[in-house]
């Protein structure tokens, strides 16, 4: 029997929320129906004026958690380092914004925040005392394409290993254990003019048991986030690019990683939470591109006892004016988790 618990990230319902198909309470009703024990929030998405919400908004959120007996397990936050046009915020300025987020999360009843990838340790460490005081743990997201090999992630992990605080750890996004590029992404880009040869090229690389990100790195070197130009792609990849969509597709293709499970071993002691990413859930409750069965087996072997929060992201790849069926996709993902968790 697994010790892993199920949660839903409200990120999954963003289209329903934006188009007023579901309000916060509708989502809680749905999660209750699914038997989820936890909920993840992006306060910037569904709590007005975050990180300074009104007391009324805070009370409303906490009341929903207690009414439906669903625990707020993680708040996903951001630091608006691009607030000004003429410069990035300094580390000290970012720390100030980060502290506002810690306080906001604590006020909303969370004891964990998801720190966005690419946040410098110099921003995080000075806020640690306040995080401890407010009992809010900090977990930086390990997201495919911005994962362990990226300089800013490496710097954070170095700090995490040096400080050894139970308040500093990691959040894994399941997109780091993909076995293929999601079909829904390929279909979306094909409709925009993607050359089928580019799709086939990426698929063939995944079929060898690796991913495009690792393939590029092995063949050429820099895959640093934000520096992924056409020129540093392998020659045969460059030759396939016929239009801007082809290049864009190759860029996004690095956002799906097939990380060997043993590479996760050294980070397992720091794991606080998991984003159960899904792009496409089939009618028989399978995710078409992520190795969930193996991933959950791995987590069980390592006695992970936290939450997996369903994070549906196939919404990005729905064709124009087609309905996003986020509610059903989340339901299927929760059913899949039930199956693999042995519930």
């Amino acid at each position: 029997m697994s010790r892993i618990k199920r949660a839903v990230s409200l990120y999954s319902y963003q289209d329903s929320y934006a188009r007023k198909r579901m309000n916060l309470e509708d989502m809680f009703k749905e999660m209750k129906d699914l038997g989820a024990e936890g909920v993840e929030l992006i306060s910037d998405q569904m709590i007005k004026n975050s990180p300074f919400p009104t007391q009324e908004s805070i009370d409303n959120w906490k009341n929903l958690c207690s009414k439906y007996d669903i625990k707020g397990v993680c708040n996903s936050m951001f630091i608006n380092s691009t607030l000004y046009r003429n410069r990035r915020l300094t580390a000290k300025e970012q720390t100030k914004l980060f502290i506002d987020e810690i306080n906001c999360a604590a006020d909303l009843g969370f004891d964990l925040i998801r720190l966005v990838s690419q946040t410098l340790p110099d921003v995080v460490e000075p806020a640690l005392d306040i995080a401890i005081k407010r009992n809010v743990k900090i977990g930086m997201e390990i997201h495919a394409g911005q994962s362990f090999d990226q300089p800013m992630t490496e710097q954070y992990c170095e700090m995490m290993k040096r400080v050894q605080s139970p308040y500093i750890g990691l959040v894994f996004d399941a997109g780091i254990v993909c076995k293929k590029h999601p079909n829904v992404s390929a279909e979306y880009f094909l409709a925009q003019g993607l050359s089928p040869e580019v799709r086939d090229y990426i698929d063939a690389i995944f079929a060898t048991g690796t991913d495009f990100h690792r393939y590029v790195q092995k063949n050429l070197g820099t895959t640093e986030y934000g520096k992924r130009t056409k020129e540093r792609l392998p020659k045969e990849a460059q030759a396939l690019i016929k239009n801007p969509i082809d290049l864009e597709y190759m860029y996004f293709a690095e956002s799906y990683e097939n990380t060997p499970f043993e590479e996760l071993d050294e980070y397992m002691p720091y794991l606080m939470h998991i984003h159960g990413k899904c792009y496409e859930m089939t009618e028989d409750y399978e995710e078409t591109s992520i190795k969930y069965k193996e991933f959950i087996e791995y987590l069980n072997q390592h006695d992970y006892d936290g939450y997996i929060a369903t994070e549906y992201e196939g919404n990005r790849f729905v064709q124009i004016d087609k309905e996003v069926n986020d509610k059903e996709q989340v339901r299927r993902h929760q059913m899949m988790l039930k199956k693999y968790l042995g519930e």
């Binding site: 990120y11 963003q14 929320y17 934006a18 007023k20 992006i42 910037d44 998405q45 569904m46 007005k48 004026n49 975050s50 951001f78 630091i79 608006n80 380092s81 691009t82 607030l83 000004y84 046009r85 966005v116 990838s117 690419q118 946040t119 911005q146 979306y188 986030y225 934000g226 520096k227 992924r228 990005r316 790849f317 729905v318 124009i320 004016d321």
Partner: protein, 130 residues
């Protein structure tokens, strides 16, 4: 990837100020998945029947009360464009859109903190002015 959220259907119409048509307006949802201060909006571009509206003729508002030019927008850090709420956009074109059918295109992009590029979307709609 955010084209679906740009330029809310049926939101484009002429508006009046001081009893006179002062231009046309439209609404859009954000091309991102969370709310941000207005200073993080990167670009707002409008074309009508293929002709661009000059940037200095455009104003935006998150609350439909306080309006900012695109230049002013860069310093608006107090007010957020909330997720799921419309941004109101006005183009100050004397007498507004003429009677008849127009192809109106809106392009919006924002500058999220941790993306290497702006997140944008675009949409053209047929707009009929009676």
């Amino acid at each position: 990837m955010f084209d679906n959220y740009v330029f809310t259907k049926d939101s484009c119409r002429n508006f009046t100020e001081n009893g006179k048509i002062a231009g046309f307006e439209m609404e859009t949802l954000i091309t991102y998945y969370r709310g941000i201060p207005l200073s993080m909006v990167n670009e707002v571009r409008i074309t009508v029947d293929g002709l661009p509206v000059p940037a200095e003729f455009i104003k935006i508002s998150a609350d439909n009360e306080q309006w900012f030019t695109l230049e002013e927008m860069e310093t608006v850090t107090f007010y957020k464009w909330e997720y799921g709420e419309p941004l109101h956009i006005r183009a100050y074109i004397e007498d507004g859109l003429r009677k008849g059918e127009h192809d109106v295109n809106l392009f919006v992009s924002i500058w999220p903190a941790y993306y290497p590029m702006p997140a944008g979307g675009t949409r053209t709609r047929k707009v009929t002015i009676a």
